[in-house]
Symmetry: C2
Subunit: 353 residues, 2 copies
Amino acid sequence: MKTKRATAKDVAELVGCSVSAVSLVVSGRTEGRINNDLRDRIEAAVQELDYRPNQSARTLATRSPSNIAFVCPDIRNPFFGEVFHGLSASVAAQYRVQLRVPSSGLDFGIDVVRDAQSENIAGLILAAPSSGVMELFRSTCPTVLLEAPDQTLGLPCVDLNLESAAKGLAQHLLAMGHRRVGYLSYQPKKGTFVVRRHHLEVAMQEGGAHLLDAIASAGELTIEEGEARFFESWKHWKENGVTAVVAADDILAYGAIRAAKKAGLHIPGQLSVAGFNDIPFSALIAPPLTSVDFRAYELGQAAGAAMINTINGRATNLTVVETELHLRASTGAATPLKGPKRRASGTSSAPAV
Amino acid sequence: MKTKRATAKDVAELVGCSVSAVSLVVSGRTEGRINNDLRDRIEAAVQELDYRPNQSARTLATRSPSNIAFVCPDIRNPFFGEVFHGLSASVAAQYRVQLRVPSSGLDFGIDVVRDAQSENIAGLILAAPSSGVMELFRSTCPTVLLEAPDQTLGLPCVDLNLESAAKGLAQHLLAMGHRRVGYLSYQPKKGTFVVRRHHLEVAMQEGGAHLLDAIASAGELTIEEGEARFFESWKHWKENGVTAVVAADDILAYGAIRAAKKAGLHIPGQLSVAGFNDIPFSALIAPPLTSVDFRAYELGQAAGAAMINTINGRATNLTVVETELHLRASTGAATPLKGPKRRASGTSSAPAV
């Protein structure tokens, strides 16, 4: 089932004219070059054969790039879909956004970036690029980095205020009495993940508390990975008095919650769990997840604005998008697992009927 | 901040050779055409200037399409990310998958499809295309339709067994005593949504029950839309004795649950809620959602297999992927809202302390 597509040559043969005459008509450049009669006959033939010029050829010929390439990691995380929507909306008047994701694998390598660069694009946005990609990256067109707080290439950046995000979360946990906090990290080396862990650790230490890393980091941002890495680390964490777990992303936190429930732990009675990102599902899960809202749509809009400024030669070095901590039922007061279980005074100790 | 990229002309000027010699070296076609000394000098200049051939030009020149374009709607729904992963994995040995989504707006129009067709692609997959798109669609390369049960173009299709999915859900609701079921639909005219509602209605009617449509359909698959459409319809549904609500997609069901909770309804005590799709978050929300698993990854794999068969001239008309009903706590026995609340015998009527 393969239908052969009409070419400019087919149109030229039907009309009895040159291929370049067809090309001029199709691209609307007939003025002073093609007489009206020939133009009409070519247009009729284009319609009859349903000829559509090849986009690759047309792009090369006209050299008017109207696409912004948005390169992003694993789109199973609904976060990137939301960023994409904000970005698309903010540049819609002038540009279309072309989404570029790794065909196989979970994160994009330099090949995906170079593929995007090899097209005739107006601009390039890299979302949460890994350190490996940034080491090999060379800018060939207006470029904006999104969530790349470790980058020093001097490119315009749009970042989250991760310091205030992590600090807010740390202060909440400290106020709830948590002094040993397990950290479920994401393995790929990316600035945004390095920085969120760093600020959380610093803030916890300032409050006299400690971060205990999971035995292994998650290789993918999936519920299954979060669950597996929690199970692996729980014995170690428990022995060290961990009363709360923070995950590098909400989806890993969902896995931690699932694992903790399977292990018979009451959340937040015996273990508090929190995440970063606050994707829309975090308010709906059981228990609702305490998380730092990364305002994905707004982040996309900011990336669009920075891109347009960059294209127009008014580059801004850094745009910072504020985050917001949402406290929900997954975090509560620390209750050490060892020793007798504390009870709030005035509560009957008789079992509930 | 714009870095000019080196062109083949720059390389040719540096070496003192023709542009076509550069092109031959870059594409590895030197044999018998370019002597080794010139080849080495060109290669050195390519490296020095960091010249990378333009992909559009190279694709046109070599005519060896290795991309399959996957056109899909709103990627905020994690379903499509999962389908994409299954698809990419299944064709990875031979093809890369290029994701094409609407730049603005929520669903793709014919323009997105034609853009994809105008590139030099090996094949095209359309996911859940609207009736409007299919009316204007003309195949120009090997094409596979995914979730397009209403299509009659004779193109290879990969579909879900929606009849068995809807029937299973209807039988479950009937067995639980539900006779009036609200239906929260998705507005865009798409075969997959028409068919899932149709089979549910037929199966409910066979059991002597009725489907009552929401006052308005959701324009987007978002939690907010599900919530708003539920609120709008609840008075009408309540007056007509509705004891269960089915949503066309899990994300709308999440909105219905949020709205029902805000309206003070106990789920499933006073209202059962179910969805279609069973995205990974449905098992985690409160209460866990009864849903029909659409096996997104498997669906993507089946689309990849159908695509490769089609490219190789072994087109299969239709591949059907089975679905699976997952019963969870969001559905329970029907309890009419009017009249005295029934209690299970043996349960104390004293209020809980």
